[in-house]
Amino acid sequence: MTPRFAPGVRLHHDRARARWIVLAPERMFVPDDTALAILRLVDGVRDVDAIVDDLAQQYAAPRDVIATDVRAMVEDLVARGALTG
């Protein structure tokens, strides 16, 4: 699965408040650290496996632990309408 942002959804750096924020039609939300780490890698090219590889390296963590977290989070972001798979 290759996640991408749903139409009208994007990740934005909110300089005035020094945070990242997801902007979507009629709403916005501040992603938690895990969601943010994933969202920053969503480019419509990387699939979930590639995102897991990237994060496993970034955090020097075991791949299977990361994989479980990433899959759950991607599923959640899809359910919330931020990503499509």
């Binding site: 009208g8 005035a16 309408g81």
Partner: protein
């Protein structure tokens, strides 16, 4: 002081429709007094610099401006999430494509009723419904997300189930059902627009059932009317707290209807920076926070939840913008609302002419 989150850019008061509940001021700005493309571009840059994340491009009809593509481009270049709030009747596929290329993020399309005859009577424009349906298709074909916006009232509430069908048929991901708010032009048509209690209860039932049945397919936002309520609607997170509007002629407003309040002087972007307007102007500071509140709001446990309700409604109904919103059961003027409901029932609208 918190930075603002969203800017409402009222690009023009010109509009091919004549909705009897229009929230634009009763005295409209002429085309010749409108801000220029460059002035809007500066407003967007300043808005982003003080913390705005979103801009709602509205009017009137924003696409009545010939420079709408440049305006969207400028908003996008400033880093703002751009939402076009349109009646759709001036849109075609080519314009939608150019707007998308300029960076448009989202389209909010208004619909006045479910059946064409009703919609065209309410909006006062022949052929409007068909053009709106095409506009929805162009939005979809451009790959942009669509929200359908239905303003509901006494004369179209019975169509609510069919408005839900239209939202689905037209490919909207969201439907916004908003009851009319009574200031400006809508107040002049209140007798024809106020719903009955039974209509309101039925509408709420329809929304709840549709939400349940369409989970995952259509999100329904529902703004309840406050004439039948015991508590006022919260005012946008508080006056001067998260939101600012700029009128077609450049007045910086704490809310889109603020010019309906007599005695407030608004800063103008032609001679004030947006930051100064937000932080230092008398108009923004007048009702900011809770210090300005008289009884019964002063010290009320709800004060930071509803901010004493709507200043524009307080002024429209009591003549005092600092009064507790009469929608609150604790307001000494609360009885005014019951009286208005009892008197409502007119069937004809008062349309305004422009031009």
């Amino acid at each position: 002081m918190k930075p603002p989150l969203a800017l409402l850019a009222e690009l023009t008061h010109r509009c091919p429709l004549r909705c009897p509940y229009c929230s634009n001021p009763v005295a409209l700005t002429r085309g010749s007094a409108e801000l220029t493309t460059q002035e809007w571009a500066r407003v967007f840059d300043e808005a982003a610099a003080i913390g705005c994340l979103q801009v709602h491009l509205s009017g009137g009809e924003p696409t009545a401006r010939r420079d709408i593509v440049e305006i969207v481009g400028a908003a996008h270049a400033a880093g703002l999430y751009t939402n076009l709030i349109t009646a759709g009747v001036l849109l075609d596929a080519a314009l939608l494509g150019r707007l998308k290329a300029a960076g448009l993020d989202h389209v909010q399309l208004s619909v006045q009723d479910a059946d064409p005859a009703g919609a065209e009577r309410i909006g006062g424009m022949k052929g409007a419904q068909e053009r709106k349906e095409s506009a929805a298709r162009f939005v979809r074909e451009a790959g942009l997300p669509l929200t359908l916006n239905a303003v509901v009232h006494r004369q179209n509430l019975s169509s609510l189930p069919r408005l839900v069908d239209i939202a689905l048929a037209w490919g909207a991901a969201r439907l916004e059902v908003a009851h009319v708010q009574y200031y400006g032009w809508a107040l002049r048509n209140r007798d024809a627009l106020l719903p009955t209690r039974a209509q309101l209860d039925e509408a709420t039932r329809v929304v709840i059932a549709a939400r349940e049945a369409l989970r995952g397919r259509l999100v329904i936002d529902y703004v309840v009317p406050d004439y039948h309520a015991a508590r006022p609607k919260a005012c946008m997170g508080g006056w001067g707290s998260a939101f600012l509007a700029v009128s077609p002629s450049g007045n910086v407003l704490p809310c889109h209807a603020a010019e309906s309040i007599d005695g407030l002087v608004f800063p103008n972007v032609r001679d004030t920076s947006l930051r100064a307007a937000w932080e230092d102007s008398a108009a923004f500071n007048r009702f900011r926070g809770t210090d300005w509140m008289p009884a019964p709001c002063r010290g009320c446990a709800h004060a930071e939840r509803d901010w004493g309700g709507c200043r524009c409604q307080a002024f429209a109904l009591t003549g005092d913008a600092a009064a507790t919103d009469p929608a609150c059961a604790l307001s000494p003027h609360h009885g005014l609302l019951a009286e208005a409901i009892a008197e409502a029932g007119a069937t004809t609208f008062r349309y305004r002419e422009f031009g």
